[in-house]
């Protein structure tokens, strides 16, 4: 462990804003892209289902 306490970890040697903002942005980008991809795919499948029901009716 590089930090003596949770307070020291949160303070990040005075660089807390920059360090946590970087990791936060990274999590947002990596997680967000995957989330958006799978949502897009599901939405498309859903639309296809409605189109087929429409065509068959």
């Amino acid at each position: 462990m590089s930090f003596e306490s949770i307070t020291a970890f949160v303070a990040m040697g005075g660089y807390a804003t920059y360090v946590f903002a970087s990791y936060g942005l990274t999590a947002l980008t990596l997680g967000g892209l995957l989330w958006a991809e799978s949502r897009r795919h599901r939405a498309w499948l859903h639309r296809q289902g409605s189109v087929r029901r429409f065509e068959e009716a």
Binding site: A21, Y23, L33, L34
Partner: protein, 244 residues
């Protein structure tokens, strides 16, 4: 060998075979990135010059490496699509461009967040930063061209040509720190030499790089598979699959 390659060029074959990779990549990227963040953020030591801000390296450097290599992969796919007119290669170009653009933006943003405390500014027109910004515009240009003129083949060829020409930018990014010695530090991490930093630092860095790659192939694969079924929606194999 050629037969094997040929099979993978078929959207149907690719779609059915690649599905099994998704859970593997999801698990691998989740575990590796999780462990890498834990190692980099909590265990690895502070830098004697940069203090705790050096921890930004563990997300910035992998993002920058991935930004450049995803561009190289896109250009290779573009070349394949131009030469052999392989439909799946064109879909690969189209689907990797937005992911590459996002990762390039992430590299620029985390670099900016590192630059502020270390250089005193969020942005300078340093050669490395400027050429990375151009990389972002290249990704955006390929994406815009590909989606222009309603998914036509001409648009695909134009986008591929741009992607290949844009390869020129990669050596510029790589050597920018040596050619114009400005603010950005030269590479401290190469494939051929022993790293100058201790294992407690290059260990988590390497782990994050591997994790970023696993994530990238996962995101690319999901997007590519979606694009393939969308393009082939009228074909028998997609119709059959949707009935199930």
């Amino acid at each position: 060998m050629w037969r094997w390659l040929h099979q993978w060029g078929s959207p149907k074959f690719f779609y059915h075979r690649s599905g099994a990779l998704i859970p593997v990549l999801a698990l691998a990227s989740g575990l590796i990135l999780g462990a890498g963040v834990f190692w980099g953020l909590l265990i690895s030591p502070a830098d004697y010059q940069q203090g705790e801000s050096v921890r930004i390296m563990y997300v910035h450097v992998p993002a920058a490496i991935l930004a450049q290599s995803s561009y190289a992969m896109m250009a290779v796919m573009a070349l394949i699509s131009l030469i052999w007119r392989l439909k799946i290669a064109d879909a690969a170009v189209q689907t990797v461009a937005p992911i590459g653009a996002c990762i390039t933006l992430l590299a620029l943003a985390t670099g900016s967040l590192w630059g502020k405390p270390m250089w005193g500014t969020y942005w300078v027109w340093d050669a490395r930063l400027t050429s990375t910004l151009i990389l972002f515009f290249l990704f955006a240009g390929v994406l815009a061209l590909r989606n222009a003129a309603g998914q036509s083949q001409t648009a695909g060829r134009a986008a591929s040509v741009l992607a290949v020409i844009g390869l020129l930018n990669l050596p510029i990014i790589k050597y920018s720190v040596d050619w114009w010695f400005t603010l950005h530090q030269p590479a401290s991490f190469t494939l051929t030499e022993r790293p100058a930093m201790p294992f407690s630092m290059w260990g988590p860095l390497l782990m994050m790089v591997v994790g970023f790659y696993a994530w990238f192939f996962l995101a690319w694969l999901i997007r590519l598979r979606h694009e393939l079924v969308k393009r082939e929606v009228r074909s028998d194999w997609v119709q059959q699959m949707m009935k199930q």
